[in-house]
């Protein structure tokens, strides 16, 4: 995007998209197409612009979708991984060809700035290609101990029907990851997008079906809470893949544990649930690197990433200097419309988020001090929040414990690395963390102690790449499954072992 020809290509794609709005996102259940029910998604930067009009699926719709999915599974579940990988490879190819259009859609439907939106499309492509490759590998039987007279084999078979309950903050990439993990391993998938991003969800499903995924095998049930609840409780759902808030995640885990009448299996939940991510700055850190990384990790996409930096834990020796420079840097941070190149952050997703940000700011000015706040906000109705740094909070402040999911970061003074590690360990969350240090021994110590799923050293803490930084957290941040990593697919399959006696009449035959 540093080339002007690329920027003008993206602008044309956006213009073309705008002319075709709203996107229609009806439920897709088997070969039938549902009604458009008045569920809409809007441009967070300009809420009078309707981006998609969607179906509002009911429990009944979900039941029908599960029936279709079971039918689909009977066929899809017995294809070979290679056949499925070919189909999924076609989906990735379609995404490569329509990269600019998909990027424009993300810019519009969730107010994500260009660079982040394009990175998300690339991540979606990476997920599809990675899991397709991985699923072929999964078909090879793993090595078991073999002794003369017996043949031992283990294979992994798809579990059945996967329910995907997706977030709005990475509406394409995270949805693609969870959905394709299910499809690549031979499961049928029923996909419920976030309320705020049905348009992109519908596009994902269209791409998969165009690539050759049969209609029964990938179902689409947009809507509010109802379809999500029904999916979680439905006796014929085998695996639930969820990314979202901790509260909803815990509810899903609890509800899915209940055994319904006639249900003969245990549901498996794969959940990624958010965090309270700390960035530790050691006394010898290079502040020239820390400042841009901290600003980007905290405020990129308006702080709406589960990996976003939420707390800066800064060594006493550099606290004052860092606070001074950070204050200056934050006042230069530019908030604007997602479609403007060169902004640092865009709007937050909806009025709830904006209100939440305002509430925490209020609390911050009472309990602590607003250290720095970003430049002016754009005019109009968009849901814009000023990026803010808060200091001087008491240890028990809710701001230090709650996930804000908006552009607000706290800064705390720590006496040493030991205290910083203790603070990280005290958190019930363990998703991402960062450390800036130029002492390799300190780096090793923190690595050894840190409970987080993704630790970053001397760089920002967002932007995990498929295959390079498998992503997922521990403790209450998730089920410990690593998206974009080698073990992720095992959650979607069940292992079966066969042992055959190869002796006949005392001879091995």
């Amino acid at each position: 995007m540093r080339r002007s020809s690329v920027r003008s290509g993206l602008r044309s794609a956006l213009d073309q998209l705008d002319v075709s709005l709203p996107i229609e996102a009806p439920a897709l259940i088997g070969s039938s197409r549902g009604d458009i029910d008045g569920l809409i998604s809007v441009d967070p930067g300009n809420p009078s612009r309707v981006v998609a009009v969607a179906g509002d699926s009911s429990s009944g719709d979900v039941d029908r979708a599960v029936e279709a999915a079971q039918a689909g599974f009977r066929m899809w579940g017995v294809t070979s991984a290679r056949e499925r990988a070919v189909v999924l490879g076609r989906a990735a190819a379609i995404m490569r060809q329509t990269r600019q259009q998909l990027t424009a859609m993300i810019v519009r439907e969730c107010g994500k700035p260009w660079i982040d939106a394009d990175a998300e499309v690339c991540e979606a492509i990476d997920f599809i290609e990675y899991y397709a490759r991985q699923s072929v590998g999964l078909e090879r039987t793993p090595e078991l101990l073999q002794l003369p007279g017996e043949r031992n084999e283990m294979r992994f078979v798809p579990r059945g029907v996967v329910a995907v309950i997706a977030p709005w903050n990475f509406p394409l990439a995270i949805s693609a990851g969870m959905v394709v993990a299910g499809l690549a391993t031979g499961n049928s998938v029923i996909y419920k997008p976030a309320e705020q991003t049905p348009g992109i969800g519908h596009e994902l499903v269209s791409i998969l079906r165009s690539a050759g995924v049969p209609d029964d095998v990938i179902g689409f049930v947009p809507g509010g809470d109802e379809p999500g609840k029904r999916l979680v409780e439905h006796p014929d759902i085998h695996t639930i893949a969820f990314t979202g808030s901790c509260a909803v995640g815990l509810e899903i885990i609890a509800r899915s544990a209940a055994l319904a009448a006639g249900q003969n299996h245990l549901k498996r939940v794969v959940a990624e649930m958010g965090g309270k991510n700390c960035l530790i700055v050691d006394s010898d850190a290079d502040l020239d690197e820390v400042i841009p990384a901290a600003v980007h990790s905290a405020f990129g996409f308006a702080g709406q990433k589960c990996s976003a930096a939420s707390r800066l834990l800064v060594h006493d020796a550099v606290f004052d200097h860092l606070a001074e420079r950070l204050t200056g840097a934050v006042s230069s941070v530019l908030t604007g419309q997602a479609e403007d190149f060169g902004i640092d952050l865009g709007p937050v997703i909806d009025p709830d988020s904006a209100e939440r940000h305002a509430r925490y700011l209020d609390q911050a000015s009472q309990d602590g001090e607003i250290l720095a706040t970003g430049g002016g906000l754009p005019a109009g109705d968009g849901y814009f929040c000023a990026p803010t740094v808060v200091s001087g909070l008491p240890d028990d402040s809710k701001l230090l414990a709650d996930e804000v999911f908006a552009p607000l970061v706290t800064i705390e003074r720590v006496a040493d690395l030991e205290s910083a590690c203790a603070l990280v360990e005290a958190s019930p969350f363990a998703l991402t963390a960062g450390l800036f240090t130029r002492n390799p021994e300190h780096a090793r110590k923190v690595e050894a102690r840190s409970p987080v799923g993704n630790l970053y050293i001397n760089r920002g803490i967002t932007g995990a790449m498929v295959g390079r930084q498998p992503f997922g957290g521990n403790r209450l941040s998730g089920t410990g499954t690593k998206a974009g990593g080698p073990g992720y697919l095992t959650a979607f399959v069940e292992p079966r072992v066969v042992c055959e006696n190869t002796m006949r009449h005392g001879l091995v035959v």
């Binding site: 010898d284 290079d286 840097a329 902004i343 021994e441």
Partner: protein, 457 residues
């Protein structure tokens, strides 16, 4: 790279004969040998060579250099020294001895002291002083010896508006102090005049990234808007004092911002007749020939009465460009093969020397072959030594600068000023560049047969 422009193919400029290049090269080498400073430079290069041959040790030492200014005291330096040396998987005996000594509490501060002294020593080789005033004596000596200078102000990254303002003040202060003092120096015709007329004595190199916290690769407009007022101010000061202002090129991410800003401002009517100004062309970029054509086209149409100075360099951000491209999945924008890169440098040299009606070329290199080629091309293509200026880096090109001056060429030393903390990024980059296996200086340190270094790439 598709630039999106339909530019005519650059005209082929005939190269000087290999004989002529070799003749010039030998003349240059002969001029080097006569300088006793040579042996010091070569010893330095050889010591650095020992470091270069052990990549783990090299990494450890660069990281130590990088962190030393941030260390709170000698013990802190020593702690980092031992931690960094401890990362080396198969340490040599001497490394083990040093680390063992530094770990002993009684020796820790001493180890820190020597480490810091070593780092400061290295820094003082490359950095001319903390500010313009402290560098003056040295600049004056250089001038007497027939060598000009350009100053570069080292500093923290600019992440706030205040830091950008501070940088601006330092730049202006530097120009005023130096212009004031340099006016009183003796005449040096080969340094002060060329076919276009007078060449300013005072020369300042500036970085756009230091002039605004708002530089963004995906939005040149924002960086341009952020830096405009400050650069305009510096251009005015330079114009009024008759000082040359040169804009450095940084990583590729910023190129569009820099060129847009410079061309926009130089086109403003108040700068039609001055100051003398220029930009840096990086020869390691694969699209550098197309980029140069754009610049020549701009200058031809700009209607300024002053030529555009173009400093041709290889490029100082190679690792950064390759890593960034690799991690983003793009093809590398730089030449990855040394010979191709050197050939491109010579191609660009010839193109510049064929365009001396529009530009003042400055060839910045320590590569004897590249220099010899430029010496020959100045004759055959541009018709004289005054067509070209040579530039070297302080601390790396000391012997070359004297030799070139003796041979009658205009030569300018790039002299950074600033404090140790500010200087680290610069220092680490210089060390990295010149101890890589591809470094010409390494090749030079490793051979007695300098003729072999003059072969065409």
């Amino acid at each position: 790279m598709n630039t999106g422009l339909n530019l005519p193919a650059p005209p082929l400029t005939p190269a000087p004969s290999e004989d002529l290049v070799r003749t010039n090269g030998r003349r240059l080498i002969a001029a080097l040998r006569s300088d006793p400073a040579l042996s010091v430079a070569r010893l330095n290069a050889m010591a650095v060579g020992r470091v270069a041959s052990d990549p783990d040790l090299r990494a450890a030492l660069f990281r130590l250099v990088d962190v030393t200014p941030m260390c709170r005291d000698l013990s802190d330096i020593s702690t980092h020294l031992t931690a960094l040396l401890g990362e080396i998987e198969e340490p040599t005996r001497s490394v083990r001895l040093i680390r063992g000594a530094a770990l002993r509490p009684a020796l820790s501060r001493t180890a820190g002291f020597f480490a810091r002294a070593g780092v400061r020593g290295m820094a003082s080789r490359f950095i001319a002083g903390a500010d313009a005033e402290s560098a003056l004596d040295e600049l004056s000596d250089l001038w007497k010896r027939g060598v000009a200078s350009t100053m570069d102000l080292l500093g923290e990254a600019t992440v706030t508006e205040t830091e950008a303002d501070t940088y601006l003040e330092r730049c202006e202060h530097t120009m005023r102090v130096l212009a004031g003092k340099m006016a009183g120096w003796q005449a040096q015709p080969h340094l002060e005049t060329d076919r276009h007329g007078f060449v300013p004595r005072t020369n300042l190199s500036v970085k756009i990234s230091a002039m605004t916290p708002n530089a963004r690769p995906d939005s040149p407009g924002r960086g341009v808007a952020g830096a405009s007022d400050r650069l305009r101010h510096l251009l005015r000061v330079a114009r009024d004092l008759q000082v040359h202002l040169h804009v450095d090129m940084e990583s590729l991410d910023l190129r569009e911002t820099v060129t847009e800003l410079v061309f926009d401002l130089l086109a403003e009517p108040e700068f039609a007749d001055g100051p003398s100004a220029g930009m840096v062309l990086q020869g390691y970029l694969q699209d550098s020939p197309e980029e140069l054509e754009k610049w020549l086209g701009w200058q031809a149409a700009a209607g300024r009465s002053v030529p555009l100075s173009v400093r041709l360099v290889k490029g100082a951000y190679w690792d950064h460009e390759v890593v960034e491209a690799g991690q983003a999945g793009w093809p590398a924008p730089v030449f990855t093969d040394r010979a191709t890169c050197d050939r491109n440098f010579e191609l660009l040299t010839r193109r510049l020397l064929a365009s001396t009606d529009l530009v003042r070329p400055a060839i910045a290199s320590h590569n004897l072959r590249s220099i010899a080629h430029a010496m020959a091309a100045a004759e055959t293509i541009a018709g004289g030594h005054d067509a070209v200026e040579f530039q070297v880096l302080r601390g790396l090109g000391d012997d070359i600068q004297d030799a070139l001056s003796d041979l009658g060429f205009r030569v300018r030393t790039y002299s950074p000023i600033g404090d140790l903390v500010a200087g680290m990024a610069y220092l680490v980059r210089r060390l990295l560049e010149n101890t890589s296996n591809d470094s010409f200086l390494m090749a030079r340190a490793g051979t007695e047969n300098l003729d072999s270094l003059l072969v065409a790439p």
